[in-house]
């Protein structure tokens, strides 16, 4: 679990200060994180469905919903949700009952669980892992199973064809999606989404999309593959109203149907959020002095003993910036849907296999060779931005002590995390560390009593 309150995690706060046992502390902390995430997961589709109807209306020269909740119809999503809840729960006679009921939950579970590793701000992530991106793609790949089981178990030919096409499309587009997401990872050198976000503080040219031309193209390819993997037009063969009635969700109505759509809109926000972290600066605004001030507040908050208000507020602002960027990308997806006509299934597969896949392979190769070529030709690894090794202060033992659960000692040698003084010329220059001048702090002492319960660590 991640440090949210000062330098302690919620779980250690519950264990040490409130006095719960490790198991109950972990369970309660997990419950809190899951509660926040499931509310996010449920409210975002409401907002995006309203946004889709308004944007599509405007694109088509009409108004969209205008009645529910005032002039702009912003409660229309809620009205839709209420209508869907009270609909009859229908299972066709020819359907395989257990699989038919299970399929929406599978799709929803995959889309929801992937929020576990998505950071909303610096350190504001339910499960920080240094393989966060890998885990995210592993979990997202489970959504295909829900779709395919839905199509198969509905007992209707529209659903079966839609499910098969959809499964082929989603599975094929996972490859350019993953390799396109690997290109900035190769540029930065870490799979951890929080680390990638931290690397992009500063002016807007520090964003990873401007690192090298291969990452720039990879952003476009990633976004295309993400649109396809979310089954959005122009790749929405699975829901092709003119061809397949409604594809894999033909036989679904009411709340089961809405689970599929919650999964779809949540997955849209998820891939947009990942795109904004990987390419567009995560939770940073891109304005140099503002980012410097916010980042120094965040660093002080991470290393502090007690609750550090400016750090928390800076993180809140970062979360707002991140949600804005994700929502903007979702609006771009909505805009593309209502502008471009639909592709045929053979065109969809051809785009993936003949165009996107070779493109991503070439981009990956280029991104891997770019630092080598740059170092040989110009002597520095980046064209005009700071090299990644200098952008972020390495975590000192002081940071590690502050973040570790078991150590009670406050770091006296916190010179490493003081934001005020610096002599090294890093990106922003005001919040970076004095690397190499202060002696390394002593290693933290081992915990006092070893004979404690093993259990949850």
């Amino acid at each position: 679990m991640q440090p949210i309150l000062a330098g302690v995690t919620i779980r250690s706060f519950l264990h040490d200060s409130v006095g719960l046992s490790p198991t109950w502390a972990a369970a309660l902390a997990a419950f809190l994180h899951a509660f926040i995430l499931i509310n996010t997961f449920a409210v975002l589709p409401l907002v995006f469905i309203w946004a889709e109807r308004k944007i599509s209306g405007r694109i088509q020269d009409r108004l969209g919903p205008t009645r529910v909740g005032g002039r702009f119809g912003w409660l229309q999503g809620l009205a839709d949700g209420l209508k869907l809840i009270q609909k009859e729960d229908l299972v066709p006679a020819a359907a395989d009952g257990m699989l038919f009921r299970m399929a929406p939950y599978l799709a929803c579970m995959a889309a929801f669980t992937a929020f576990m590793v998505l950071p909303f701000s610096d350190g504001w992530v339910a499960f920080e892992s240094d393989i966060a991106l890998f885990l995210l793609f592993g979990i997202l790949s489970l959504e295909v199973l829900g779709i395919v089981l839905a199509g198969y178990s509905s007992g209707s030919k529209w659903a079966l064809f839609g499910g098969m096409r959809e499964a082929a499309q989603m599975v094929s587009y996972e490859i350019p999606l993953a390799i396109g997401a690997l290109v900035p990872v190769v540029a930065v050198g870490t799979l951890s989404l929080v680390e990638i976000g931290r690397m992009q503080a500063g002016w807007i040219w520090n964003w990873l999309v401007f690192t090298n031309p291969f990452v720039f193209l990879a952003a476009i390819v990633y976004f295309t593959a993400a649109t396809a993997s979310c089954k959005r037009a122009p790749f929405d063969l699975a829901e092709a109203e003119s061809e397949l009635v409604a594809g894999f969700h033909t036989e679904y109505s009411g709340m089961r149907w809405s689970f599929f759509f919650m999964a779809e809109y949540a997955a849209m926000f998820l891939v947009s959020g990942v795109a904004s972290i990987l390419f567009l600066g995560a939770w940073h605004t891109g304005i140099g002095p503002l980012d410097a001030a916010l980042e120094s507040a965040r660093i002080s908050g991470r290393a502090a003993d007690s609750f550090y208000w400016p750090g928390w507020l800076a993180n809140l602002f970062g979360a707002a910036v991140f949600m804005t960027k994700g929502s903007l990308l979702v609006c771009v997806q909505i805009w593309i849907r209502w502008t471009l006509p639909r592709l045929r299934i053979d065109q969809v597969m051809m785009t993936c296999l003949k165009y996107l896949l070779p493109m991503t392979c070439v981009l990956f190769l280029g991104a891997v060779l770019w630092p080598l070529a740059m170092t040989q030709l110009t002597g520095r690894t980046q064209l005009f931005t700071t090299p990644f090794g200098e952008r972020i202060h390495p975590p000192t033992d002081a940071d590690e002590t502050a973040l570790r659960d078991a150590s009670p000692a406050a770091p006296e040698s916190g010179a490493g995390s003081a934001p005020a003084d610096t002599t090294s010329s890093l990106v922003i220059g005001h919040w970076s560390l004095d690397i190499g001048d202060s002696p390394p702090p002593p290693p933290p002492p081992p915990p006092a009593h070893l004979a404690q319960e093993g259990g949850f660590q």
């Binding site: 790949s141 395919v148 089981l149 093993g454």
Partner: protein
């Protein structure tokens, strides 16, 4: 029962129950669903053992790849709406016999592990060099230090004296104490910026030959271990050959008529 044990039992029930359900289910697609449950629970078990990279790979490859392939194969080759599989009695008896033999083999392998020593030799805590041992023990409280020194035995027969854990059964409290000690020691040596799990970096380093348990802290002029990258690449080329071979074998064969009708 602690929370970790409860979680383990839930995941183990999912893994084993799902596997049994795969065998028992009559409908082929339902078998695929229970396989998802089983493989997902195994991924959960990997995460509980702090092997995050392996758990994520299990999800990505097995559940997201192999099971999807399975479902495709089932759906494309099923002749009826919901295909059912019936087995004869002879097949049941034969499979029960083979299953029993495999079970006996696995049981003897598992029962042969000395769980009492909590895998001391596996994680390398069976013998600890003297300076490492004394450095760790110096930071402990007196009671813990004495207990640790009483459990380990100094062996000065070679040039580098080591502290050995003598063979023989340990009491339950001794074993728990030692496990806590090893966990604490591991936590001190954990590389920075690897909060939860953090096995990806050691795996990556081991691939190129820098094994954290052997080469980290070794002398500057000692050779690195053999990396795992070459066998990894050989296996991937092997898999590619298998895929191409399977695709070739499964191709639609063109029928040539003697009369040459179109």
């Amino acid at each position: 029962m602690t929370g970790a044990q409860l979680l383990f039992w839930i995941l183990a029930l999912g893994a084993c129950g799902g596997a049994i359900a795969v065998v028992i289910a009559q409908n082929v697609v339902r078998m695929a669903f229970w396989l998802i449950v089983s493989l997902g629970s195994v991924a959960g078990l990997f995460f509980q053992l702090h092997a995050d990279f392996v758990g994520a790979t299990q999800l990505l490859i097995y559940v997201g790849g192999t099971v999807v392939l399975l479902i495709f194969g089932v759906m494309l080759t099923a002749s009826g709406p919901f295909l059912k599989i019936k087995t004869s009695t002879a097949e049941l008896l034969l499979s029960a016999g083979i299953g029993g033999l495999v079970f006996v083999m696995l049981y003897t392998a598992v029962a042969g592990v000395d769980w009492n020593r909590a895998g001391a030799d596996v994680i390398g805590a069976g013998r600890i060099p003297r300076d490492q041992f004394e450095e760790f023990v110096a930071g402990l409280e007196a009671s813990d230090r004495e207990r640790l020194e009483s459990l380990y035995m100094l062996d000065e027969s070679t040039d580098d004296p080591v502290y050995r854990l003598p063979p023989g059964r340990l009491s339950a409290s001794d074993r728990d104490f030692l496990v806590a000690a090893w966990n604490a020691q591991e936590r001190l040596n954990r590389p920075p910026a690897a909060p939860e799990g953090g096995t990806a970096r050691p795996i990556g380093l081991s691939l190129v030959g820098l094994r954290p348990d052997r080469d980290l802290g070794a002398d500057a002029d000692s050779r690195l271990s053999t990396g795992y990258l070459l066998p990894f690449e050989i296996i991937s080329v092997h898999l590619l050959v298998v895929l191409i071979g399977a695709a070739y074998l499964a191709r639609a064969k063109r029928r040539t008529d003697a009369g040459g009708a179109p």
